[in-house]
């Protein structure tokens, strides 16, 4: 299920072997190499729109004397974090000050891995929200597995820098949930880009957005086509997976034995990419019953679901999630906007976590994404009030390492372990306080956001001259 973990099938695993921990730029090349090295057809097509993101050269950074939540379950007091060559070089006490570079005094400050949001529509539903920018939901057929969310991303969405100021360094952009198969999701680094390729997380596997429940049946039932019921939804999934299995077999047969090249089908190609383990399923699904059914379908067709999204009832089936190695991405307390979101408990994340399933916070919101630390804090407290012993050093994983797992990038980011990408947030205080803010945000060791230095606060094209022809969209002090 995960690109960089043992369970991965196909070329991404090789990619890790070749490139893991090396310079990002080689990861791209790696995709090409692996196409040859892999022993099956290339359904994921990682090379079609390859990442062009290359982090700037950066001097070393020493964050000194801070409280450090590593994302691996540790809380280190009065400790240092050294970033070098875009990677985490060392975490410990009294580290040597690098000759050249930036020293960040960490007294009173907390350090965490960069926040990762597995569920965002930034760029696909940008601000301002107007008719012509609603590019997130291809609501024309219940199966649009052939569309790719990255092809809708407006890189100049002013919501990206707002999320950065909230400490978000990586985010997955998903198609909407109108369709049973919404299309491919893409994982981005939260960096300014002229093209979406400039933002693509090098080597990250693609996601496939699927949706259970009310949305597909409402959208297509209203049009008088299948599905108009939940059972119609399930028939739609099974028909598609059946076709995808046949497609995959046809191509594998061609790959091994030659003969006439089968006709290429972009929709089935994406699904076949799931079946061979290269593409991760991200499944919008609220109800416990539906999650159980989706896991059975996955078993039937021999694929792995990475993560149930929204998962308001994940707590009801937390043991099943653990058994099936499926993550759940949840809100802290949203509920009631529809029937499948009615059975909310604030302890959802904590219960899933305590059942040893992989639990995480997610936003699905341009506002929520700016406050994922607060949302995690609420979920942590709800867990404590439920009687669980959950501390910040553990809960921080819900916004860092667990979403990294869900996205298949946990070998390269999501914790402060040596050799990982230097995606790091320096908080003004305990990140689980409403009063704390992300003071500095590093992505691959580069200072991408500095609250005290307006020169290190990115602005999108949209913001220039928009409210004041000569000045900023927001004058001094108005930044985020």
């Amino acid at each position: 299920m995960r690109l960089f973990s043992e369970s991965v099938k196909g070329f991404e695993r090789l990619c890790v072997a070749v490139c893991g921990g090396l310079l990002v730029s080689t990861l791209v090349a790696c995709g090409g190499e692996n196409k040859k090295a892999t022993d099956g057809p290339d359904f994921a097509r990682q090379g079609d729109f390859p990442s062009t993101y290359v982090p700037q050269e950066s001097a070393p950074v020493l964050i000194r004397g801070a409280t450090v939540l590593t994302g691996t379950g540790e809380k280190l007091l009065n400790s240092d974090v050294l970033l070098k060559g875009g990677k985490i070089a060392k975490v410990g006490k009294d580290l040597k000050v690098p000759k050249k570079g930036l020293v960040v005094e960490g007294a009173g400050k907390w350090v965490t891995p960069g926040i990762i949001d597995v569920h965002s529509h930034l760029g696909d539903y940008p601000a301002p929200s107007i008719e012509s920018s609603q590019d997130g939901n291809e609501m024309t057929s219940p199966n649009t597995a052939q569309v790719w969310a990255e092809h809708s991303v407006w890189t100049q969405d002013p919501q990206f820098p707002l999320a950065l100021a909230g400490g978000v360094t990586t985010l997955q952009i998903l198609p909407g949930s109108a369709n049973l198969f919404g299309g491919r999701a893409v994982t981005l680094k939260n960096v300014p880009g002229r093209s979406v390729q400039d933002m693509k997380f090098p080597g990250a596997p693609y996601g496939l957005k699927m949706a259970c429940g009310e949305n597909p049946k409402r959208v297509y039932g209203g049009k008088g086509t299948l599905p108009s019921t939940r059972m119609g939804n399930v028939a739609g999934y099974r028909e598609a997976w059946t076709a995808a299995a046949a497609y995959k077999e046809k191509w594998e047969n061609f790959h091994e034995n030659g003969g006439d090249e089968p006709e290429r089908d972009l929709q089935l190609e994406t699904l076949a990419g799931v079946l061979n383990g290269d593409i991760l399923v991200h499944n919008h699904c609220y109800r416990g019953e539906e999650m159980a059914i989706m896991m059975d379908i996955a078993r039937d067709y021999d694929f792995q679901i990475s993560t149930f999204h929204h998962a308001v009832e994940a707590y009801k089936v937390a043991d099943l999630l653990a058994e099936n190695n499926v993550c759940a991405a949840m809100w802290a307390d949203w509920w009631g906007f529809k029937h499948e979101a009615f059975d909310m408990t604030e302890a959802n994340i904590a219960i899933v976590d305590q059942a040893k399933a992989c639990a995480m916070i997610h936003s699905d919101s341009a506002v929520g994404i700016q406050h994922l630390n607060e949302e995690t804090a609420k979920a942590m407290v709800a867990g404590q009030r439920a009687g669980f012993h959950i501390e910040p050093r553990h809960a921080v994983a819900w916004m860092t390492s667990n979403p990294a797992k869900a996205l298949g990038i946990d070998e390269v980011t999501g914790t402060l372990e040596k050799g990982k990408m230097a995606d790091v947030v320096v908080w003004s205080g305990n990140p689980f306080s409403v009063y704390s803010k992300a003071d500095k945000v590093f992505i691959d060791g580069v200072l991408m956001y500095d609250r005290t230095d307006s020169a290190r606060q990115p602005h999108t094209d949209f913001e220039l001259g928009i409210l004041d022809a000569e000045g900023e969209r927001l004058p001094e002090g108005g930044q985020q």
């Binding site: 307390d333 059975d343 604030e346 219960i351 407290v381 409403v434 009063y435 803010k437 969209r473 108005g478």
Partner: protein, 431 residues
């Protein structure tokens, strides 16, 4: 577990068991000892103080009430008492599930009535939203209709979150209307038309009131609005009822100020994303503003100037700021006004003003007798586990009219049923 109380015996109760108080005969006197008390009134904030509740009212607040006899004594050390939270904008009791039409009573379609729509009879005090929001510290709310067709949505009313059948405290509290982009959409495509419709309705309401008898006898020119609508606008014109109207763009706000001035309306402005740009004018006009603090994205062209420190800037200019729950979370999470206020404080609003914005300022804006802790006031308060604006704090005691309220709700019930989910049928028998 329940505690039976001997009214003659002083009982010290740990906070753990506060939930158990509910449903017992309510104590006549309750003493909260050694808590920080944010009164928002003449007594300011007591770093450590005692608060005595007698017969549903606050009897005394002082640094040390000594050994004053009380039926129930609550140890408030490390805790904070504030007035109960008041939601300035909600649909509590008018909605159960957003996408379930049969559970929604907040708006009407294809009806002639607009301003005269009064949903108060549809209010359901047994809605699941009420105990949930109450557990979050919300004790009162303004409940509003909304509109999909007309610039006037109708009458809002005020409630207490007791869940009692008689918990509407004031019907016909406000008139709800829309300006800005949404108003324009409702009015046929232009702000100018939304403005004209509002102005026209007010002018005709005035005309109606001056010629009521002729209009009713059919001896007057035909007016564009039903008698019901025109009647409902009278209290606006008399300045008795505020017009609660949304606008975000600075220029829209100024247009509303001019309109209000012309008709001598009492305005309550909702949204005001660019309010900071015209804060002085708002202050001068004494127009209170309901702010969605977390709504800092420029997600509409009318909100290009949206920013996190809007509440602080408005307050600095002398505007009365009320803070609502985050717009994206909706009525179901109205109590999250507390998180929003915490963020406002993180972005420059003084702490006490943050608390005020979710309590006293809301009460003041809507003329409610609440929001301040003072002797003689109804005991409507919350005891928080810590800093009341901190995200990790929670309500340990919610009191309305001196009665500790239940903090149990569907969320806690479901939690307790599924604390450790496992296979089998037993969960179905867990209550």
């Amino acid at each position: 577990m329940r505690i039976s109380m001997n009214v003659k015996t002083k009982l010290k109760v740990s906070l753990f068991s506060l939930a158990c108080l509910v449903g017992t005969a309510s104590a006549e006197t309750i003493l909260i000892k050694d808590a920080q008390i944010v009164t928002l009134g003449a007594q300011g904030t007591l770093d450590s103080g005692d608060l005595l509740v007698r017969d549903g009212q606050i009897a005394q607040i002082a640094e040390d009430l000594g050994d004053v006899p009380a039926d129930l004594v609550i140890d408030g050390r490390g805790k904070v008492v504030t007035p109960g939270l008041i939601a300035p904008s909600s649909e509590l009791g008018l909605t159960e599930i957003g996408a379930a039409a049969s559970t929604n009573d907040g708006a009407i379609e294809e009806q002639s009535v607009g301003a005269g729509f009064d949903p108060v009879v549809a209010f359901n005090p047994r809605s699941t939203l009420i105990p949930f929001n109450r557990a979050g510290g919300l004790t009162r709310a303004v409940v509003l209709p909304y509109s999909n067709e007309k610039v006037f949505a109708g009458q809002g009313f005020a409630i207490k979150l007791t869940g009692d059948f008689d918990s509407v405290t004031k019907p016909n509290l406000v008139q709800r209307a829309y300006f800005g982009e949404y108003g324009a959409e409702l009015a046929g495509g232009s702000r100018a038309m939304a403005y004209a419709q509002i102005a026209n309705a007010l002018a005709q309401a005035k005309e109606y009131s001056e010629n009521r008898d002729q209009v009713r006898r059919g001896e007057w020119r035909e007016l564009d609005y039903s008698v019901e609508d025109l009647e409902s606008l009278q209290s606006l014109l008399r300045g008795e009822q505020p017009l609660m109207i949304n606008a975000d763009r600075a220029s829209d706000i100024l247009q509303l100020l001019a309109l209000a001035n012309k008709y001598q309306l009492k305005l309550v402005l909702v949204g005001a994303a660019e309010g900071w740009m015209v804060a002085d004018q708002l202050a001068k006009a004494r127009v209170p503003v309901v702010v969605d603090v977390l709504g800092n994205t420029p997600d509409a062209f009318e909100k290009l100037g949206a920013r996190m420190d809007n509440a602080a800037l408005l307050h600095d200019a002398g505007v009365t700021v009320a803070i609502s729950g985050p717009g994206y979370a909706g009525s179901h999470n109205s109590y999250l006004s507390r998180q929003a206020a915490g963020n406002a404080v993180a972005y420059g609003l003084p702490f006490e003003e943050g608390v005020r914005a979710i309590t006293a300022n809301v009460a003041q804006t809507f003329g409610m007798d609440a929001g301040v802790l003072a002797p003689g006031n109804a005991a409507e308060l919350v005891l928080w586990s810590g800093d009341p604006l901190e995200i990790t704090s929670f309500a340990e005691l919610v009191m309305i009219d001196g009665k500790p309220q239940s903090l149990v709700n569907r969320s806690t019930r479901l939690r307790d049923r599924y604390l450790s989910p496992k296979a089998g049928t037993e969960h179905g028998y867990k209550k």
